[in-house]
């Protein structure tokens, strides 16, 4: 028996199945994920204009609430919000409130008092955006910009957008994710998205110490030998290896990791000739990927960054739309009750 709990979907979807928060890809169906990709496609064109703005979030305040350092994710969220005409406030909480002992709940109360409409949250603890979504006043949208080892749904969706651009779709695709799956929120969200969108094979390639227990239950197969795992691949996604993994007795050395699991030109040659190479960044050249591969013709790493802005614009506008629709619906119900 399980506890009688609100599933993430009660939290992140409106009654009509629209997004109102974006916390995880768990429970989001193929239609909604495709909708996000299609919306993002329409925003790519905005980035190519000389005036790169649409007025969808005009008059709205978006707070980038980063409890963990990030350059790339935060700046693409900021750009995305600005292209949607929102006012943006960047808060690096790591160095301010929490170090003074203020609890997360209290920080949130203070920020809500500033009448924000959306929090983009990055946090070192899995589940922090869920906690925030449950605690904030109704009407404030929460976007997960990466929480602990749990999820990084916008990253996974920008990866899906990149794959779709290059491969046309997901049917029949063989995809591998290589490296530190255990600690990776990106990998968890990617595996979920690839399964939902109908990829044929999802392989994870890593040593036993970098795989979570029961990883197959996420919907993937395990391959310890990278040479075998590369066979016939259409997409290979490399994950960043944090230096501190050597200290926790998870790996003997960077050199050994590179020899076994680093993406060299030799190993890439084992995949399908049109296999694309992806990496959520920032890359460690010579640790998980050879420079010649990262900069080579099969690499789409820089496309990923461009797509990141479009995906974040899509998710932010959709969540704000869901919040507005819900507010309107509640208002209508109140009006009807008033008339009756």
């Amino acid at each position: 028996m399980t506890a009688n709990l609100a599933s993430p979907n009660h939290l992140q979807l409106t009654r009509d199945g629209q997004l109102r928060h974006f916390l995880t890809l768990d429970g989001l169906g193929r239609e909604l994920l495709t909708d996000i990709l299609d919306t993002a496609d329409s925003f790519i064109e905005v980035g190519e204009r000389s005036i790169k703005k649409v007025p969808l979030l005009r008059g709205r305040t978006v707070v980038n609430l980063f409890f963990e350092a990030s350059t790339r994710t935060r700046s693409t969220f900021e750009l995305a919000a600005k292209r949607l005409s929102a006012d943006v406030l960047n808060l690096d909480i790591n160095t301010s409130a929490t170090s003074k002992g203020e609890s997360l709940s209290d920080t949130l109360l203070n920020l809500e008092a500033m009448a924000s409409d959306m929090f983009v949250v990055r946090h070192a603890q899995s589940g922090a955006p869920h906690f925030i979504a449950e605690s904030v006043t109704p009407g404030v949208a929460i976007i997960n910009a990466g929480d602990g080892r749990h999820a990084h749904p916008t990253q996974a969706m920008l990866d899906m957008l990149t794959i779709r651009q290059h491969k046309g779709g997901f049917e029949g695709l063989k995809v591998a994710i290589v490296g530190d799956i255990l600690h990776s929120r990106v990998a968890r969200s990617q595996i979920r998205a690839l399964n939902e969108l109908g990829a044929e094979q999802i392989r994870v390639i890593a040593p036993g110490t970098l795989l979570p227990k029961d990883v197959e239950s996420l919907g993937c197969t395990v391959e310890y030998d990278m040479a075998k795992g590369m066979k016939d691949l259409d997409v290979v996604i490399m994950l960043r290896l944090q230096k501190e993994r050597m200290e926790g007795a998870l790996l003997p050395s960077e050199r050994e990791f590179y020899r076994l699991y680093g993406l060299s030109q030799d190993k890439l040659a084992l995949a399908h000739p049109e296999c694309i190479v992806m990496h959520p960044g920032p890359i460690n050249r010579g640790v998980e990927i050879e420079s010649a591969v990262a900069d080579g013709p099969q690499s789409v790493i820089l496309n990923q960054v461009t797509n990141g802005i479009a995906i974040r614009m899509a998710v932010m506008s959709m969540a704000m739309g869901g919040q507005m629709a819900e507010r309107q619906q509640k208002q209508n119900e109140i009006n009807e009750r008033g008339l009756a």
């Binding site: 506890a3 609890s103 906690f131 968890r188």
Partner: protein
């Protein structure tokens, strides 16, 4: 207690109830006469007797009062989380007449002075029996022996190390050898701390999906094996607390069959919930040991059914609300469980997971025999009783709970099982007192 009066006279007659004596024997439509704090008559003799007051227990179960081997009242030292008044009253509402309290107070219960402080506090404020468990090591630090014999003389019923464990196997072996000298019961929660590390969830399906730091099953089973081997060698009376793994139940059964003096308990929430309870990041279910797989849950239930697990405990751990209001990994572990424990057990009975008699055994004679108490209903026995209506419903909510901890496992949903009254030595502990 006819009408709304609290029971106050010298004698009380309870009639028409279904009497469960804690040993599996059951008499429908029975009667009890309680006089001067003891059972003065049972059955027909009680029916015919005159009494100052009477209670019509039709539809109710009359059971020995429940005994909890693992409870935290938070006094002394953690008044913001709970206190002797709130938590013992919550326990009485749950049908408990005796609670054994963890040495993890502040200061730790590692001296006669603290034991006396707890007992004196209970004497003044508690409607039920409070039996302290003394610290096994000084300061619960796992390094030096506590004054175990002195603690026992002051009233500790057993010695244990709470949730802190003893890291060093050599120290643990000496603790057991020393406790064995005095015939003391050593209560240990099996956890290998280097394997559990910073984890806060079962290392399994849900932790893989949600990216939670796992506590592997082997963190418990490796500790169980080590403790069983040390108990076998030292001959100590070992009690394993709060098992969470099916494999642990197998090891306990095996050790018993080889003649090792070991008993065990499980928290009610381990019999009801699984790792899936965390799938919405619900911090109430941040527990230690963590909720594990459905297979583990079923094996634990079977352990209770077959008597391998002697006792069902509350592992009641009240907190102030701030301790649970944070992202899951930053919250403190524990449930406020004692008030609704019976109700959760009755739901398991309704689902056919075990019988009412097996549930009552796990709450009465089972735990009582672990610590050498009596929990039976017989002629001249002390009248520690719980009378509950298994068909009536109540709804735990943040407002209705007595415990200072509002993180009960079920909130705002009706549960079966309302305790009509709890008697301790014939005196009303709930709802009056």
């Amino acid at each position: 207690m006819s009408g709304n009066d609290h029971f106050s006279g010298a004698s009380l007659k309870i009639t028409g109830g279904r009497l469960l004596d804690g040993h599996g024997s059951e008499t429908p439509n029975s009667a009890l006469l309680i006089r001067n704090g003891r059972i003065a008559a049972i059955g027909e003799a009680a029916e015919k007797a005159d009494a100052d007051q009477s209670f019509d227990a039709r539809g109710c179960v009359i059971s020995p009062g429940f005994v909890d081997l693992s409870c935290n009242l938070r006094e002394p030292g953690n008044g913001q989380k709970g206190n002797m008044v709130s938590e013992t009253r919550a326990a009485a509402r749950g049908g408990f007449t005796t609670v054994c309290v963890s040495p993890e107070t502040s200061p730790v219960n590692d001296s006669r002075a603290v034991t006396h402080l707890i007992r004196d506090g209970a004497y003044v404020s508690s409607p039920i029996r409070v039996l302290p468990v003394g610290a096994l090591t000084r300061g619960l630090d796992g390094e030096m022996l506590s004054d175990m014999s002195g603690l026992t003389a002051a009233g500790c019923i057993a010695v244990g190390n709470g949730s802190r464990g003893v890291r060093n196997a050599r120290v643990l072996r000496r603790c057991m050898a020393y406790a064995q000298t005095f015939g003391l019961i050593v209560m240990l929660r099996p956890e290998n701390q280097s394997l559990a590390a910073d984890g806060y969830a079962h290392d399994g399906l849900v932790s893989a999906r949600l990216g939670l730091l796992g506590i592997p099953e082997v963190a418990e089973t490796a500790a169980v094996m080590e403790m069983l081997l040390l108990a076998e060698e030292t001959g100590v009376r070992l009690h394993l607390s709060q098992l969470s793994c099916g494999r642990s139940v197998e090891m306990v059964a095996d050790a018993r069959s080889r003649g090792i003096a070991v008993t065990a308990d499980v928290a009610m929430h381990q019999l009801v919930f699984t790792e899936e309870a965390l799938s919405g990041f619900d911090s109430r279910f941040h527990l230690r040991p963590p909720l594990r797989s459905e297979a583990d849950r079923q094996a634990l239930v079977a352990g209770v059914r077959e008597g391998v697990i002697d006792a069902i405990v509350s592992q009641h751990l009240p907190h102030e609300s701030a301790a649970k209001q944070a992202p899951l990994p930053d919250t403190e572990p524990g449930l406020s469980s004692i008030e609704s424990l019976l109700s959760l057990g009755l739901e398991l009975v309704q689902r056919g997971e075990f019988t009412l008699a097996e549930l009552i055994r796990g709450l009465t004679s089972g735990p009582a025999s672990v610590v050498g108490l009596n929990a039976t209903i017989g002629q001249d026995d002390v009248a520690d009783l719980c009378v509950f209506d298994p068909e009536a419903h109540w709804t735990p909510s943040k407002r209705s709970l007595i415990s200072a901890g509002h993180h009960a496992p079920v909130l705002d949903r009706p549960l079966p099982g309302v305790v009509r009254f709890t008697l301790v030595e014939g005196r009303e502990a709930w709802p009056g007192a």
